[in-house]
């Protein structure tokens, strides 16, 4: 009953979307604010309506209403309450509904904002229209092609249970994060379209949607990180990233949204590259749509893609229509989007931003081509050719390294024009630091040239980024008579985007260190022959002693679990370091085996053990062991990136008097420095 009410509510949400999409532009054309406001309210209403829909489905999940097909597909009597709640996005149909919920939340948030105060009222009707159309598309999809509310004629006694792979906290939070990332980026897209329709040539759409873009980007980043963490903890392939289509899809979007964040600054500062920003925004949107179409339709197989379904053709058709409409709109506005300024020199902030932008795009394209190559090769040559991680490592890897290098250069260049001498002067200290680090590493035994160079690159960029803070803090200490901590805080407060951005850069460098460490110094092996009981084997600095295998109770009673016990000791002095308990779950219902690794070791040297197999009731067993040096820096870097986002995003109340005289920066009174 309540579930059917939810179904009805989602139908109303679709109607509200259609209404908003028609009435808002009509109001704009007739100059009738009542119609515009009516459309705005209708768009606002979609959120409570979709929420009721989700509550209805949650009700069915919580009450074990197996008459609803979706509930029987993703839960069972044994599924604990927590996973029955998260099962809402555990499979295709429900996750589209959940996607609609998050999108409608963003729509509602955009609708309730104070448009009069923001001064972008003229954009409102078309922002409403764009968002209502996109949300309406997904609601249509939910209702007509992937309905989660459908009932079966013969309700089963028990459901099939949640996909075992999805029972991990990372997997629980990761999809909502990604959805929020995608739908967050819908807001700047809507502003972009509205700006084009109203023939505006200024950067209003960028400024109005700047914070939304940041939010979308941050969610996307967090979603990617959590996805990596999930793969690391659950999939048992020893790494954090497998270049799987469902990982690549958000990455492709991230690799377009990130340059957009940078190039938007060029337009805001200098009124240039307006067309380019529109292009990047549309590309961001297209990549999101395209990726969703491919993953959802089952065209691309992946570790956890949804089952093949018939929404693919519909999706593709809709996408072509939408993109064609966008392209038409853009082409008819080219004259409006002329650059206001002349590029003074390629050796400038805007010049290097442009290079960074195209490098990001070519990286994105690389990931894209590798991801869809199986489909391309099947369409052209008739055979489906799989593209594994080696391709991505060898092609996207160098481009990403180049991006890290640019990150160490861009902050040095000024807007407009830079002087070569000044820039090279600023490079001395970081370059010296990088050299010292490389020598230290070489003496320490790192003699492979490529990782050594890459670590040097990271050291340079790290030092350069830190130097940016040092320079800023020094300037404030000299000019503003501030002590160092005050200067640092004020610096970040007054230039949030800039110094928050540098914090994100720092996070990226830390992450790069982790990637290089794991990629070049990671070891992995499998025990040969299988180890006997109480026998030992050594990998790297660690000795493992096999102590037996035993069945243990499975967490939710729907699997069979075998757990192995290993003693870990130091290979050099025999000191006992700990124990490892890797295990395997077998799910008879889903015919699925999960290998759950044991993760131990130190912060800089992770030990990752997988139970690969056993014989004779555990008389012998074999293990796959990964030593992952520096891998934890990836997660640390990720946290730093998110912190950087908060620095950018946080609204700081103005306290300090605005324009302090710049001429007062020289006379540094005695006692001012080194407080």
């Amino acid at each position: 009953m309540f579930t059917d009410l939810g179904h009805l509510s989602v139908i109303f949400a679709l109607i509200a979307c259609l209404y908003a999409a028609v009435v808002s532009p009509l109001g704009a054309q007739r100059n009738d604010d009542r119609l515009v406001q009516s459309g705005r309210l209708a768009a606002l209403m979609t959120f409570p309506l979709v929420l009721i829909g989700c509550l209805g489905l949650w009700y069915a999940l919580l009450t074990h209403d197996f008459g609803v097909k979706y509930v029987a597909d993703v839960s069972s009597l044994a599924t604990p309450i927590f996973f029955r709640i998260t099962a809402l996005w555990g499979s295709q149909n429900g996750s589209i509904l959940f996607w609609c919920l998050i999108m409608s939340a963003f729509v509602a948030a955009a609708m309730v904002r104070d448009w009069d105060a923001a001064g972008d009222k003229p954009l409102l009707p078309y922002v409403t229209m764009t968002m209502a159309l996109v949300l309406g598309f997904f609601l249509f999809l939910e209702l007509f092609l992937a309905n989660a509310f459908l009932r079966s004629d013969f309700p089963p006694q028990d459901g099939r249970g949640l996909n075992p792979l999805l029972r991990h906290p990372g997997m629980i939070i990761h999809p909502p994060m990604l959805y929020a990332g995608y739908t967050g980026l819908l807001v700047p897209f809507a502003f972009c379209i509205a700006s084009l329709i109203t023939r505006r040539s200024d950067d209003l759409w960028l400024r109005s949607s700047r914070r939304w873009t940041l939010v979308g980007w941050a969610f996307l980043t967090a979603g990617l990180l959590l996805g990596g963490r999930w793969a690391h903890d659950v999939l048992g392939w020893g790494g954090y990233w497998g270049w799987d289509p469902s990982e690549n899809k958000p990455l492709i979007t991230w690799l377009i949204a990130t340059p957009f964040l940078h190039s938007a600054m060029i337009q805001e500062k200098r009124g240039m590259f307006k067309n380019w920003n529109v292009f990047l925004m549309m590309l961001t949107f297209a990549s999101m749509f395209f990726g969703t179409a491919f993953i959802r339709s089952g065209l691309l197989t992946s570790v956890h893609a949804f089952a093949a379904s018939d929404i693919g053709p519909f999706f593709m058709g809709a996408m072509i229509v939408i993109l064609a409409a966008c392209a038409m709109l853009w082409l008819t506005r080219l004259d409006v989007l002329r650059s206001e300024n002349k590029l003074d020199s390629a050796f400038s902030r805007e010049g290097i931003f442009l290079i960074q932008n195209v490098l990001f795009l070519s990286t994105s394209f690389t990931v894209f081509i590798g991801t869809i190559f199986p489909i391309l090769s099947e369409a052209i040559g008739g055979t489906k050719i799989t593209v594994g991680p080696p391709f991505f490592d060898q092609t996207a890897g160098p481009q990403m390294a180049a991006l890290v290098a640019l990150m160490g250069m861009a902050p040095l260049l000024a807007w407009g024009k830079s002087s070569g001498a000044a820039v090279s002067r600023q490079m001395i200290v970081p370059a010296a630091f990088a050299l010292v680090v490389m020598i230290a590493l070489f003496v320490g035994g790192a003699n492979q040239p490529i990782p050594l160079l890459l670590f040097g690159l990271c050291a340079y960029t790290l030092a350069q980024t830190v130097m940016e803070y040092v320079r800023g803090v020094r300037a404030r200490m000299r000019g503003g008579n501030e002590s160092m901590p005050v200067a640092l805080v004020r610096l970040a407060q007054k230039n949030q985007r800039r110094y928050g951005g540098y914090l994100v850069h720092l996070g990226v460098v830390l992450m790069a260190i982790g990637v290089i460490g794991k990629g070049f110094y990671g070891q992995d092996t499998i025990t040969t022959p299988a180890v006997k009981l109480n026998e030992s084997f050594t990998v790297g600095d660690y000795t493992f002693t096999y102590r037996g295998i035993r069945p243990v109770p499975c967490e939710f009673n729907d699997c069979q679990t075998m757990q192995a016990m290993l003693l870990i000791s130091s290979a050099s002095d025999g000191r006992v370091l700990g124990a490892a308990f890797p295990y395997r779950d077998y799910y008879p219902m889903q015919q699925h085996t999960a290998t759950i690794p044991d993760i131990s070791g130190t912060f800089n040297n992770e030990v990752y053990v997988i139970l690969a197999g056993w014989d004779n009731n555990g008389a012998t067993a074999s293990f796959q062991v990964f030593i992952n040096p520096l891998i934890n820096w990836i997660w640390v870097g990720g946290v730093v990136m998110i912190l950087g986002f908060f620095v950018c995003f946080w609204k700081v109340p103005e306290r300090e008097p605005a324009a302090a005289p710049i001429t007062a920066r020289r006379p540094a009174p005695a006692g001012a420095p080194a407080k």
């Binding site: 044994a78 392939w237 020893g238 009124g271 240039m272 197989t301 992946s302 650059s339 206001e340 002349k342 590029l343 390629a346 290079i355 932008n357 195209v358 490098l359 795009l361 070519s362 394209f365 081509i369 590798g370 190559f373 055979t383 489906k384 050719i385 799989t386 594994g388 080696p390 092609t395 807007w415 407009g416 024009k417 001498a421 000044a422 820039v423 300037a475 404030r476 503003g480 007054k494 230039n495 092996t525 499998i526 025990t527 040969t528 299988a530 069945p551 069979q560 075998m562 395997r584 077998y586 690969a612 197999g613 056993w614 014989d615 004779n616 009731n617 067993a621 324009a659 005289p661 710049i662």
Partner: protein, 163 residues
Amino acid sequence: MTFAKTLRAFICALLGVLLLGRSTANVVYAQVPAPDEETYRIAKQLNCPTCAGRNLADCPTETCAQWKAEIKAQLDQGKSAQEVLDYFQARFGPTVLQEPPKSGTTAPLWAAPIGAAIVFLIGAGLVMWRTSQRNAPAAPSTPQSEGEDPFVAALEREVRQSE
């Protein structure tokens, strides 16, 4: 209502029996012989037909176990690693390799990223050249740093633009 309760109790009881009998049943069926080191190295370079998106070495399915056994058998016959890989490629086509060959039908795949990077960079160069040639309106081309920290703006001028 009572029927549902009875049924639930029955299912619980059934589950209980299954669980009790599990420890022995489990061990018998779930034995998984593991591949040796060289098989593992070769399996790492192959795709598994049943585990989408994972290499053969990491995939725990039955089909993959057969493939691994095949690799081991060929190694035991004295074939080299490359010969085993060649055998799989001849039998299943290049799709079986984790790393598609850089020649033949998959050459365009490898060329595409390099081509894209080059074309994009040239494009960026052209855009920069054109933008710098354009007759811009008489707007001042000094960077606008409104809303920025005056100290940092001064720093910017001092550090980056002066010789």
